[in-house]
């Protein structure tokens, strides 16, 4: 069960620094794709990870590994990781410390736009940067999303 509204509410109420990226960012910009996980670029500072763990404490976050799950380490240990792939009661959440071709949270924030989602002000990677990062990854599965985003961008500029 993916409940984006509740996830965003928990993150913003706890002042977690995040930028929405990946498939959900594409959906926010107008793509018709369907995705099961929420991809976020976050600051992997100990302070921000503390806030993240506070935000998720009631929704049973676990590392999502192939064939197994395990509970989370303290923020000081998590801060040494590059990415976190979590399973929660509200859905899958993938947390990235940086996005290839752009950089970490602070840099990505400069390539994002503030969008109102369910009354919450959220940073969402801008459409140009999203296209650029999807192209940089070169994954066949992103081909359709890139075409959709380029069409959306063109239509929005008319």
């Amino acid at each position: 069960m993916q409940d984006i509204q509740k996830l965003l509410k928990l993150l913003t109420e706890n002042n977690v620094k995040f930028v929405i990226i990946g498939g959900f960012a594409a959906i926010v910009h107008g793509s018709s794709m369907v995705t099961e996980d929420l991809d976020l670029c976050i600051s992997f500072s100990v302070n921000n990870l503390k806030k993240l763990l506070n935000a998720f404490q009631g929704i049973n976050p676990e590392h999502r590994l192939i064939g197994t799950t395990r509970s989370l380490d303290p923020p000081s240990k998590l801060a040494k990781l590059k990415n976190l792939y979590l399973k929660t009661d509200l859905g899958y959440v993938d947390l990235l410390s940086e996005v290839s071709g752009v950089g970490g949270y602070e840099r990505l924030k400069r390539h994002s736009t503030v969008i109102d989602l369910f009354g919450l002000k959220c940073f969402v990677v801008d459409i140009d940067t999203l296209i650029k990062t999807k192209k940089a990854m070169g994954r066949p599965k992103d081909k359709e999303t890139i075409l959709q985003l380029e069409a959306i961008k063109e239509r929005s500029q008319r």
Binding site: M1, Q2, D3, I4, Q5, F24, I27, V28, G30, S31, S32, V34, T35, E36, Y92, I115, D116, L117, F118, V124, E144, L147, Q148, E150, A151, I152, K153, E154, R155, S156
Partner: protein, 71 residues
């Protein structure tokens, strides 16, 4: 003597997406929605997708040895 210039037109990105098979009516409808409405539309589509997947898994569990589809 008048010569005819061959007129080469390039497809717009919108046309390219349509030729690739993307349903432009859905994209057009999405662009008329607010970002929150787009996420809510996605939520409904995801719930349907998960329900279909679960139904498929149940069907194949009863009728064959096809492995269960997971995330």
């Amino acid at each position: 003597m008048e010569t005819k210039k061959s007129k080469k037109t390039t497809d717009s990105n919108w046309q390219k997406a349509g030729k690739w098979g993307i349903d432009l009516t859905i994209l057009d409808a999405n662009l008329r929605k607010t970002p929150t409405e787009r996420v809510m539309t996605h939520q409904a589509a995801l719930e349907a997708f998960l329900a279909f997947r679960e139904a498929g898994n149940k069907f194949y569990a009863r009728h064959s040895k096809t492995p269960k589809v997971t995330h």
